[in-house]
């Protein structure tokens, strides 16, 4: 029998689990924050489960127009057979909403993975190597960052697929379109961290010991530069769903015969609204809202928990000292980093970054 101590007094055992920042943070949440986090986790889990088990849950296929009883019929109101009615195109609404989760999750996974790989690599190289490469990349990323997300995604999807595509072609086109938008965010965070870590004593000692650049970059720098990634990661996931839906709504989605996509369905439902048909638009729309809400709640709570200034006051005592002062706001994220540009333009009152002093 052990006596239960209040969390603040419990001895900290650094097990594997306690190294996962998310779990640490989750444990230190209280009250409202815990409620938000839990709601978010439940909604997100629901989304992922729906995506995985779509073939089992969905009553019909996403492109199914008929069954043994004949054609489904267009725009039929909700009835026992079609719980949420059918669309203008004659598909079952409920089934398409369920299958839509699969498309959304696939796009999020592909998009976030691609942008993490590209953004982290570029950020690491840029921050570590410095010099002209760094300046060029910073300027390019700033320019892209300032650009309206959706417009960039439209241009990308024209470039990739000419505007319409098959299931995987569509998923990749949408993902890559979204990726380009997100790379600057990962790039900036990783670059800033790399520039900071590069001057730490342990990197210098690794240099002295004769470690190679790639080893220092990936082993010493990267490992310590990733602490704010989970936050950006969750926030980007929700933005990816919104961008995908926006692309779909503008007709750049995936063909209805290849996959179900919520934004595309909403586009087709736009005309129905004027005639008072609600069941074609409300279900896919709500699906988007719930998916984004779930992921954003998780991201938001993570953000609060990782930021001592925003964390619940009681919880601060429990974890103070172990948490970095990192704040990620999905909207405020990443103001333009014009430092290098200014140096480039010859305004020399910003001294060179300390990188040059090392050699």
């Amino acid at each position: 029998m052990t006596t239960t101590l209040p969390p603040a007094l419990r001895p900290t055992k650094r097990g594997v689990l306690s190294r996962v920042k998310f779990l640490n943070n989750a444990r230190s949440s209280v009250g409202v924050q815990r409620g938000m986090l839990l709601t978010g986790v439940i909604l997100t889990a629901l989304l992922i489960l729906t995506a995985i088990f779509a073939p089992v849950i969905a009553p019909f296929g996403f492109s199914q127009l008929r069954d043994d009883g004949g054609l489904f019929g267009a725009q039929s109101a909700p009835n026992p057979k079609h719980l949420l009615g059918t669309t203008t195109g004659g598909y079952d609404v409920l089934s398409r909403v369920i299958w839509g989760a699969q498309t959304a999750v696939s796009v999020v996974i592909v998009a976030v993975l691609l942008s993490i790989i590209a953004g982290v690599t570029l950020g690491l190289l840029s921050g570590y190597i410095g010099g002209w490469l760094d300046r060029m990349l910073v300027v390019i990323c700033d320019a892209i960052y300032a650009f309206p997300t959706l417009l960039l995604a439209i241009v990308m999807s024209i470039a990739i697929s000419g505007g319409q595509s098959s299931l995987w072609g569509g998923i990749f086109a949408a993902s890559i379109s979204i990726t380009v938008v997100f790379i600057p965010q990962y790039f900036r965070v990783i670059r800033a961290e790399t520039v900071r870590i590069k001057n730490e004593a342990y990197v210098e000692s690794a240099l002295v010991l004769g470690a190679s650049s790639p080893r220092i970059m990936f082993r010493h720098v990267l490992r310590n530069a990733t602490r704010s990634l989970p936050l950006i990661f969750t926030l980007n996931s929700s933005e990816a769903i919104l961008t995908l839906a926006g692309l779909g709504f503008l007709g750049f989605g995936i063909e209805p015969t290849s996959a179900a996509e919520w934004g595309f369905d909403l586009n087709k439902a736009l005309a129905d609204v004027s005639s008072g048909i609600w069941w074609t638009s409300v279900p896919p729309g709500l699906a988007i809202v719930l998916a984004v809400l779930g992921i954003t709640l998780v991201g938001e709570s993570l953000n609060d928990l990782a930021d001592p200034r925003l964390r619940g006051r009681r919880a601060v005592a429990a974890t103070a000292g172990s948490v970095a002062a990192t704040s990620v706001d999905p909207v405020a994220a990443v103001a333009p980093d014009t430092e290098s540009l200014i140096t480039m333009l010859g305004a020399n009152y910003y001294p060179e970054p300390e990188s040059k002093q090392k050699s």
Binding site: G31, V32, G35, M36, V139, I140, A143, A146, P148, T149, L150, L151, I154, V155, M156, I158, V189, A192, E193, R196, S228, S238, L242, G246, F249, L250, F252, L266, L270, V273, S274, S275, G276, W278, V282, G285, I288, V289, V292, L293, L297, E300, R309, A324, T326, S327, D329, V331, A332, V334, A335, D337, T338, E339, L341, L345, A347, Y349, P351, E354
Partner: protein, 380 residues
């Protein structure tokens, strides 16, 4: 600590320039590299000039990016008219438009044209892109204005409220509402609003910017601005003004709520930051009323990050306007853009996108200038 440049500050609000200006650490080590300030305002002027110069590479990079991406798939003529014309006719038109020359030649020609204000001519209806902008830009501007008004009315007071009741029930409620606003795609919000207020309750019109009569009056008006609100005021007819506002309410609300959610969070975070400052406690101990404490003492200093980030929302607002305009058939730039997208008129798309990029870059510049004027710390 919070402002240390070593912190991976990606949301402190103020742009990176200003962070650097406030406490570039090595600037302190090498004071001789600092320019001597001859008199007040020279720092500001210098800042403004540098900031102005920064616009050029931004626009240049975006233009290059968009141009190259749009040409990856091939020439615009085949994209727009392929299948409708024979191969010979296509070839003839491609040659006439100069799309068969090396891409690099076309690129430099395009850049040159942009500098002279020529953004190309649309393929589908053969109009200069700049004319498309002047015709439809006013409508988008008007929509963005309504959205901003709604966002300010909702976002700022409720953000302060949430900050004041931090971690209590009103805060929790407001935050969830803010996230809901953010999580709802504008077009879905628009569709729901339409369904409720236009179709079921029949209170408001379904789409467009005015009834046929209003549109006609607007066309006849001499020296029209294209901004219906101003034009309606000038006509001075109450019925027309009411009609214009009735048509504007739902689109403005759809786009405004999205932005309001963002403003609310932003104001909340920043006011929480300033509310915990010592001087707020000092003011409270002097007996300053709680309302004034939030409204003046905490909100004022939080304004600069708020203004900067609000400025960055222009990009979001423009993206949202594209979707809102298509939802409500609001005939602005975004609506026109989707029309061109459907017609696969990529010359027009490229022109409009580049133009919007210019608008975003210029707006960001203006926002930074405003921030610099408000806060002397920003400008050195």
């Amino acid at each position: 600590m919070i402002w240390s440049p070593h912190t991976p500050t990606i949301s402190i609000g103020i742009t990176f320039v200003s962070t650097l200006l406030i406490d570039a650490p090595s600037a302190a080590k090498k004071p001789e590299t600092r320019p001597k300030r001859t008199r007040d305002g020279s720092g500001l002027r210098r800042y403004l000039i540098i900031r102005l110069l920064l616009i050029v590479p931004t626009i240049f990079i975006l233009t290059t990016l968009v141009f190259m991406l749009m040409r990856v798939t091939g020439d615009p003529i085949t994209a727009a008219l392929g299948g409708r014309l024979t191969a010979d006719q296509l070839q003839e038109r491609i040659h006439a438009a100069g799309f068969d020359r090396p891409i690099i030649v076309q690129y430099f020609e395009y850049i040159g044209q942009i500098f002279t204000g020529n953004f190309g001519t649309t393929l589908s209806d053969n109009r200069p892109v700049l004319e498309v902008l002047t015709t439809y830009g006013a409508a988008t501007l008007e929509l963005a204005f309504y959205a901003l008004v709604i966002a300010f009315i909702i976002g700022i007071p409720f953000g302060m409220l949430a900050a004041y009741f931090r971690d209590k029930a009103p805060d929790a409620f407001l935050r969830v509402v803010a996230i809901l606003f953010y999580a709802t795609p504008v077009f879905f919000a628009g569709m729901v609003l339409k369904l409720i207020f236009s179709v079921w309750l029949k209170w408001l019109p379904v789409s467009g910017r005015g009834t046929t009569t209003t549109e006609l009056e607007m066309q006849l008006l001499k020296g029209k601005t294209g901004i219906y609100l101003i034009d309606a005021l000038r006509i001075g007819d109450g019925a027309i003004l009411a009609d214009v506002l009735a048509h504007a309410l739902l689109p403005g609300l759809a786009l405004g709520l999205l932005t309001a959610g963002i403003f609310l969070r932003l104001v909340r975070t920043n006011v929480i930051g300033t509310l915990s400052m010592d001087y707020v406690d000092a003011a409270r101990s002097r007996g300053v009323k709680e309302f004034r404490l939030v409204r003046v003492h905490a909100y004022r200093p939080a304004l600069i990050p708020i203004i900067t980030v609000i400025g960055m929302q222009i990009a979001l607002l423009l993206g949202g306007a594209v979707l809102t305009e298509s939802t409500f058939e609001w005939k602005g730039l975004g609506y026109q853009l989707t029309q061109y997208l459907q017609a696969r008129d990529f010359v027009a798309v490229q022109g409009i996108v580049v133009l919007l990029a210019v608008i975003v870059a210029v707006t960001n510049f203006i926002v930074d200038v405003v921030a610099a004027l408000i806060d002397p710390r920003v400008r050195y």
